[in-house]
């Protein structure tokens, strides 16, 4: 038994190192005082300096932009999870005309390449009066995230045994109560995955954000990070520092969410 544990840990450590290794170059570039791309054989900076981070934090509106990013990603997560929970539940539990078409439609929305979507999306957001506002981004991001969220949650709901809901119904609980009190708590793992996905959809996006927002204090953080890329050269040190700063909240969010990735269904939960 102990040997098996050792093997598992050895394997996991190896995988973790392999996973982290390419990212270490980003760390190395962030902590080097240089702005050139690190092409050295190993990601070990010769001189360590915090200049890149200092430059980054002293950029105008930096913390405001961090706040914007958190707001946009947070709202996207909230809206994406809320609407997809209800929709996924309907798709999983109710049989209604248009159900298959609806599910397929969700999938279909992901199929058209996004390269040409910029102009019509801009026109739409403009006509809704949401240019330059976080709300416009939240709207676009949550619609981008919803198809996966619905499909993922629907897949999970499908695995939940209906007996629980049926017995609750027999105890006199309304459909909404069943959904809220029984289905949602049982689906915590899938909701956590969905939330992380929604958060990341909104968090790293910069093209739409750079197009829809026209005030530096309204920018989200990835826009600022991307502005270190120039026509002929890129300030890689600043970019890497920004990339690290951008990734940390993701890890924090995941760390917070991952405790929900523990058994939604208990052994005694299923009758039978």
């Amino acid at each position: 038994m102990r040997l098996r544990d050792l093997v598992v840990h050895a394997g996991l450590v190896a995988t973790s190192l392999l996973t982290l290794f390419p990212a270490l170059w980003v760390v190395s570039m962030a902590f080097r005082p240089s702005q050139s791309f690190d092409t050295s054989l190993l990601p070990i900076p010769e001189v360590i300096s915090l200049d890149n981070f200092r430059d980054l934090f002293s950029r105008p509106h930096f913390f405001r932009q961090l706040g914007n990013s958190l707001l946009v990603a947070g709202l996207t997560t909230a809206i994406g999870v809320m609407f997809s929970c209800t929709a996924a539940y309907a798709f999983s539990r109710f049989r209604f005309p248009g159900r298959r078409a609806g599910l397929l439609a969700l999938l279909v929305t992901q199929m058209f390449p996004g390269t040409l979507m910029l102009i019509p999306l801009y026109a739409l957001i403009e006509s809704l009066g949401l240019l330059n506002r976080s709300a416009g981004l939240v709207l676009v991001y949550s619609t981008t995230a919803i198809p996966f969220c619905v499909w993922n949650l629907k897949g999970y709901f499908d695995t939940l045994p209906r007996e629980l809901e049926e017995s609750a119904m027999m105890d006199g609980a309304g459909p909404f109560v069943v959904f809220w009190r029984i289905v949602l708590p049982l689906s915590r793992p899938a909701i956590a995955v969905t939330a992380l996905f929604s958060f990341l959809t909104a968090w790293n996006e910069f093209i739409l954000a750079a197009t829809f927002l026209s005030e530096e204090q309204a920018y989200t953080l990835p826009v600022t990070v991307q502005s270190f890329v120039g026509a002929f050269s890129t300030e890689w040190g600043h970019f890497a520092a920004g990339a690290l700063v951008v990734s940390l909240p993701v890890m924090a969010v995941f760390f917070a969410l991952q405790r929900h990735l523990v058994g939604g269904l208990t052994a005694g939960g299923v009758k039978g």
Partner: protein, 540 residues
């Protein structure tokens, strides 16, 4: 069938009013543009025939005519004069005739608000005339007008009313007992919205005259046309169905749950999608958009005169795309699932730490990490060749051959993509009741048998969405290929979406790129229909 009526009204109301308002808006600005330009061009052409001598006299006549026009506040006839022999692009505007007679013979002032408006409009009428070959020889003159401007946000207003009506509709549908009392109110709201948008177009037209030279691109108009065609049946069934009172009572709750997600989605996805489809039938040359029918599709599908097995032919690229997608998704799934199985063991120590480390590739912006991978694959200074050398192997020129470049792309994308699959699988694994494993153990099942007969079948429904959407995303994953191999060698490792991207952003041929996108969409649609059969089996 009558239950389709339920979803119809909600969507239809929003679309109908919003599109109505936008169509009117577009139409109005087109008309304003045509009128304004035609007027100025006509007079410029007329005066051009007479030559410079006559301009002064004819100009007075033109000014008098314009003065009689109720919308015209001031008008001027100006002549374009070369200002400096050394710099041929420097010009001056001299006033030939003006509603204010004292201005005749003076130079147009950049400081005067009125003159500025005049100068702005010279560029609409006059410069257009100048760049037209017919007028180039003789004349630099133009008639300009300025008009009162009012701004009314009618499209937004129409949309607001539409949204309100749709909300009411939705609430009505969600209620336990459907009432017909709300419906007349909705109808009234709709009428008001339509009336406002229709009445408002004249005002909008004048408003838009200021920016009259804006692009007259047809795709947008075509989008609305398509939208109307697509939505008419929906509107029809929706409105008729609800009017006849055949409310979707048995399925109201289901529709109510689904509607919010679908309404937002249809607004933000359907319209851009239709725009893309419309664009695929057009071609743009020198800012002028023309309808070219199926030309782009024929061109692409005839593999543009190349052999079918040559890079850059549609079929070769499609084959590469399918291989790329299949291999990537398989790798993502295998690695992600394996890690998830290990990491879902509740007794494993440092579980949280491993999980957070393994999500790093997903968290760090891929723009920089993809370039790091490209650096690792460098022929002379890359880490990977260095390691190959260490182990006594020959270094590889990764981006010189199709196979090696493809491997480099797949490696990078596997690294970038497995965390998503791992996290999804971690979530999905929790849906398997633990007592099933206990039962299996008691029956003496080995670990592999447990995986084969308990985990896999139970995981399937929860994992299919990730695989399905992962496939679609990988199919359209353009930045990895663009950043790592860049299509090297000779576009062999390009996939369909990078090709579409190249046509759009490197060649400025958006219509052609849109045709590519439509073909990509159709391929994926076939896959989606096929995949849906797979899921159907799970639900029964």
């Amino acid at each position: 069938m009558k239950n389709v009526a339920a979803l119809g009204p909600c969507l239809a109301v929003i679309f109908a009013t919003a599109f109505g308002a936008m169509v009117v808006d577009r139409y109005a600005s087109h008309r304003a543009l045509e009128n304004g330009q035609a007027f100025a061009l006509h007079l410029a052409a007329y005066l051009a025939q007479e030559g410079d001598v006559a301009i002064a006299q004819e100009g007075d006549v033109a000014i008098a005519q314009l003065r009689a026009h109720p919308a015209v506040q001031s008008a001027a006839l100006v002549k374009v004069v070369a200002a400096d022999a050394r710099y041929p692009f420097l010009r001056r505007l001299e006033v030939v005739a003006h509603t204010d007679p004292s201005r005749v013979g003076t130079r147009l002032l950049a400081s005067s608000e009125d003159d500025k408006r005049v100068a702005d409009l010279v560029h609409i009428g006059g410069v257009t005339a100048l760049s037209d070959r017919r007028f180039q020889a003789g004349v630099g003159s133009a008639v300009v007008t300025s008009m009162p401007i009012t701004r009314v946000g009618l499209p937004v207003f129409g949309l607001a009313i539409g949204a309100l009506a749709a909300l009411l509709f939705w609430l009505d549908l969600v209620r336990k007992q459907p009432t017909s009392r709300v419906r007349p109110l909705i109808g009234a709201l709709l009428c008001v919205g339509t009336l406002f948008t229709l009445l408002g177009w004249r005002i909008v037209a004048i408003d838009r005259l200021e920016g009259a030279a804006r692009s007259t691109a047809d795709p947008i108009a075509a989008t609305f046309l398509l939208a109307v065609v697509v939505l008419l049946p929906l509107v029809g069934t929706g409105v008729l169905g609800s009017m006849r009172g055949v409310g979707p009572s048995p399925h109201r709750r289901a529709y109510a749950y689904v509607a919010p997600a679908l309404v937002g989605l249809s607004l933000l996805v359907v319209l851009p999608f239709l725009f893309g489809v419309a664009l695929a039938f057009t071609s743009e040359v020198d800012g002028q958009t023309t309808f070219v029918g199926l030309d782009h599709f024929i061109h692409i599908l005839s593999s543009t005169g190349r052999r079918l097995t040559e890079p850059l032919s549609f079929y070769f690229t499609a084959a590469v795309t399918i291989a790329w997608t299949g291999i990537n998704v398989a790798l993502h799934l295998a690695i992600g699932l394996a890690l998830a199985l290990v990491l879902s063991d509740p007794l494993l120590r440092f579980r949280g730490l491993y999980r957070v480390i393994l999500i790093v590739p997903w968290a760090v912006p891929s723009y920089i990490t993809a370039l790091v991978w490209k650096g690792m694959f460098n022929q002379q200074y890359g880490l990977i060749n260095h390691l190959l050398l260490k182990f006594g192997l020959e270094p590889v020129a990764w981006f010189s051959g199709f196979f090696t470049a493809f491997v480099a792309n797949v490696t990078t994308n596997t690294w970038l993509g497995f965390p998503f699959m791992m996290v999804t699988a971690l979530g999905a694994l929790q849906s398997i009741p633990k007592d099933l494993y206990e039962a299996a153990r008691i029956d003496g099942a080995s670990a592999w048998q447990q995986f084969r007969h308990v985990t896999l079948p139970l995981l399937r429904p929860a994992l299919i969405p990730a695989v399905l959407l992962g496939t679609v995303w990988t199919f359209n994953m353009f930045n990895v290929i663009y950043l790592v191999s860049g299509g090297a060698p000779n576009h062999a490792t390009d996939i369909l979406v990078t090709e579409a991207y190249r046509w759009a952003f490197e060649q400025d041929r958006y219509g052609y790129a849109a045709a590519y996108s439509v073909l990509i969409f159709l391929l994926l649609l076939v896959w989606g229909l096929f995949a849906q059969r797979l899921t159907r089996a799970d639900e029964s």
